[in-house]
Structures are given as C-alpha cells and as structure tokens.
Amino acid sequence: MLIDHPILGPRDAAEFVYKGDAMLIHRPDWQAEDAVAQFTDYGYLRDNPAGLHRELWFHEQGDRSWLVVTRDTTTHEITKVELARDVARAEGRSR
C-alpha cells in the first residue's frame, strides 16, 4: 500500500505504524459524570466496519507525523489522507 502523505507525497505503508480507528483522537473528558463508561468504550469498543474506515497511522520511519487515512477495509484502497493535527483541530480538539 502507498500512503499519499500530505507533506511528503506517496510513501510506502511499511514506513508507518498502524494505531487504529481515528475516533481515538477524541479522548473522553476525565471529569465527566460517566467518565468510566466513556473510557471503557474509548479503550475497548470499536466500529470495525467493512468498508470505509478512518484510521490513525504514525509515520515512524519518516517525519513522525500522525495521519488520518480513509481506507476501504474490503479492498485496501486509500481515498483520503489528512494530517491528524488538522483533523483534530477541525473537530474541535486542542483549542
């Protein structure tokens, strides 16, 4: 697989480390009333879809940036690659 890095261009997926579902960007609020339940979901439950999946990849053997890759889990085709930082900011994290 080739991952079209937004800054570096197409890179071999073997340079990256896979983390999992991009919902991991949204770490729950530890002070919420139901924080325990939220962290259980966050830590252990996954949608695991067959089809489009937004997922985190870390460019360990490159510029060490985190990417959000949109990939079809039934074909491995990658349709979108974004910097995780941009995604997190757009979704209201790290304000």
């Binding site: 997926a13 949608d47 695991n48 879809p49 067959a50 039934t74 491995h76």
Partner: protein, 416 residues
C-alpha cells in the same frame, strides 16, 4: 453410515458404490430451538456437542457460503496448549484432550498428529519466561519440557543455531501439540452433527436479528426468516459486521493474517517450530509442503488477502533460522480474516439481549480451540452458565479490568 476399515475394504472390492453424502443438504425449517450462525469449526462443533452432550433439540447451523470456507479451512492447523494465564490454560488443555479422542468420537479421520511443537529460545530473559510458562502448563495438567540446544540440533539438524542476532539457546517443547487436517475437522463435525439430527444449511446468510422487547426471536436470512429459541453467533472474523445488526459494538478489530505453503518435499521437518523473535513458524504437511506463516499485516481488513511487506518479513524470518527453506519454491499463499480482540483472548458469553449469545475474538489461535470452544459454547447455550474452563471469557472483563492478556500488550489488537 459408520466408517471403518472393514467398510473401506468392502467398498474397494465393490466399486465404491456404497458411499453416500457425509451430511444432508438441509432446507431451513420455520423454527428451531437453537440457531447457530456460522459453519466454521466452532459453529459445527457447537452444534455437535449441543446435540450430543446437552440436549435433544431442534438445532440448525446457518452458513452464508459453504462450510469450512472461512478460517477453519485457511489456518496453519497447529494445536497446542502452551498458554500461561489461568483464564486460558485450563481451557486450551481441555481442548487438547478433546483433540486426543476426537477421531473415535466423531468416527472420522481428522489426521490428528501429535508431532510436537517447539518454541525457540534466544536469550536468558526468554528462557526465564518460557520456564515460567512451562511450569504454568504443568500445573494445569499439560506437558512441557525445556530442551537444550544440543537436544534441538539432534531433532532439527538443519536449524541455524548460530544466527548472529537470534542464536538458538534452547526451546520449550510440548510433545502432545501438533497438527490436525483442518478441512477434515469441519467435515467431521458436520457429519457427526448431521447424524444427530442437526440441520446444516449452506448458502444461508444471516442479514439481521428479530429482537422484540429485548428478546431475540430469530434471524432474518437470505432464505427467509428463521425463528429460534436461542440464537448463537459464531462467525469469527465477521463478528463485528454481524453483531452490529443487533446494535452491538464489540471489543474486536478484524485483521488479515497470511499463510504460505511450499512445493511438496520429502520428510524434513518432524514437528512444529516457532521462531517468535523473528515472527515465523513452520510445519510440514502430510503431503510434504512446508506450511508457514508469521505476523498479521497489522491494519483493519476484510479483504482475505494481504500485502507484500509481510511476505518479505515472514520469508526473512524463515531464512534466518531455517536457511534451506530458500531452496524450496512457494506454491500458494492466502489470507484469512481474524477476529482480533482487545486482549488477545476470546469471548464466549451471553449478550445483553435475551436469547442472543456470542462466541468470537479468537485471533489467530482459534483452530486449536475448536473442540473446547464448541463444548463450552454448547454448555452455555444449554445451561445458561459458563463451562468451568471458560468462566473468564466474559464481555465485561474489559470494563472490570480482568483482561486475559497473554503477551501483556494492552488494548492494541494488532500486537496480540
């Protein structure tokens, strides 16, 4: 029809006209007591033990394709009970004992071959870990023996014991481990279940559940609605896709694992060897092919095929300790979809929906578990209590902090 040596000779002398199909091609009935979803090893074993040990009941196995077309027909056929943790070891040892009596029980030649499995040791720390594991195995009634390098060389003279990075410093052997003919496990259980009246219904995909007031009443399928007293999900790599239809999210990611087989060779490798440090394991099939594999590809996948970097990695691992592998040509390679759980251990449990049960999260190690998984799941379905060897395989262990994490990797499915 009972299979026997006498029957084989009689058929040989009379032109093989007396063999019938091994199981009926059943059409679905409107209602069953138990509907088991998934005609892999675990689903078929569950149906068999349910019919045999626990209840005279109306039982069906629904399979979306053909039985044995999933992971049970794609794995590298290794059986063993060399686990460390209390939640696991009694279960896998129970499974190994069931394998030992399986062929007589099923009246089917599953080619159970206890040729032994050897985990290689490369460092002092690894030796300490394997001694601890071996002791845990012995405490649970399994067999384990620590071998020296000299003992290993005697049995496997072709291993490269002087690899610069991973010299072989010994190994942990389980002599009762080995291999089983994988397709024959599916066929043997199917035939034995069918003989006890189980309907095996192929080309029947479950597309939804009928849930009324928190109780599951049956399943929608590609062949119409089928009512059921109890519905048992048992679809391995498809677990999340299926349970999503009941509104459940699971502690599971689906990943692809590849396997490889070489051209047929003369007998070379007497047992199973695993080179954990280099991510490679290998056995030789009875046809002569070297059957080997390594790591997951590492990303969520339902594609049943992997990518080339892992092919390279597995072959490099093989060459590092088993250099004469390089002279063999690769015949075939394939992939299967693993239900990788968050702690690397399985789930056999009720769900929050009455009448709906779940079996899954087998990772890359569910083949060896087939008999015990079927037995324990049948026990749960029949009695609503877990089998004594499977009490730890609960859904709520993640919430309560009782993970069964053999490798201590944490909640990262691709590392288990």
């Amino acid at each position: 029809m009972h299979y026997s040596g006498f029957k084989v000779i009689k058929e040989a002398l009379t032109g093989h006209r007396g063999w019938g199909p091994a199981w009926r091609d059943a059409t679905p009935k409107a209602q069953y007591d138990y509907v088991i979803i998934g005609g892999g090893g675990h689903g078929l074993a569950t149906a068999y033990y349910l019919a045999k040990e626990f209840k005279q009941a109306r039982i069906a196995v629904l399979e979306k394709g053909w039985i044995g077309g999933g992971n049970v027909g794609r794995n590298t056929t290794i059986i063993r009970s060399n686990y460390l943790l209390d939640g696991n070891e009694p279960f896998y040892e129970f499974s190994l004992k069931l394998w030992e009596g399986l062929e007589q029980d099923l009246n089917y030649n599953a080619m159970v071959s206890q040729r032994g499995i050897l985990n290689l040791i490369h460092s002092d720390a690894q030796r300490d870990a394997f001694i601890r594991r071996g002791n845990a195995m012995i405490l649970n009634g399994a067999d384990a023996e620590l071998l020296s390098t000299a003992q290993i060389v005697e049995r496997y003279p072709f291993l490269n014991v002087n690899n610069a990075r991973f010299p072989i410093k010994g190994g942990l052997a389980q002599h009762r481990g080995g291999t089983v003919r994988h397709d024959a496990v599916a066929w043997g259980y199917a035939r034995a279940a069918d003989r006890r009246g189980v309907d095996i219904i192929q080309n029947c995909e479950v597309t939804g559940f009928r849930i009324e007031n928190g109780t599951c009443k049956g399943v929608e399928t590609s062949r119409g609605f089928i009512g059921a007293g109890k519905v048992a999900s048992c679809v391995a790599g498809s677990s999340s896709r299926l349970m999503e239809k009941a509104g459940m999210r699971l502690p599971i990611e689906s990943h692809v694992l590849q396997a490889f087989v070489s051209e047929g060779l003369k007998p070379l490798l007497p047992g199973v060897i695993t080179f954990g440090a280099g991510h490679f394991y290998c056995s030789q099939s009875d046809k002569g092919g070297l059957v080997f594999g390594g790591d997951l590809d590492g990303y969520n996948s339902y594609a049943q095929r992997g990518n080339l970097p892992v092919v390279e990695d597995v072959c490099e691992g093989g060459m590092a300790i088993f250099p004469n592998l390089g002279r063999a040509r690769l015949l075939r390679m394939w992939g299967g979809i693993m239900d990788m759980s968050m702690d690397g251990s399985p789930i056999i449990d009720r769900t929050h929906i009455d009448g709906l049960y779940f079996n899954g999260g087998w990772c890359y190690g569910g083949f060896k578990a087939t008999p015990a998984s079927g037995f324990a799941y049948a026990h749960l379905l029949a009695t609503d209590t877990p089998h004594k060897t499977a009490t730890a395989y609960r859904f709520d262990r993640f919430a309560t902090g009782h993970m069964i994490d053999e490798k201590g990797m944490g909640n990262q499915p691709n590392l288990h």
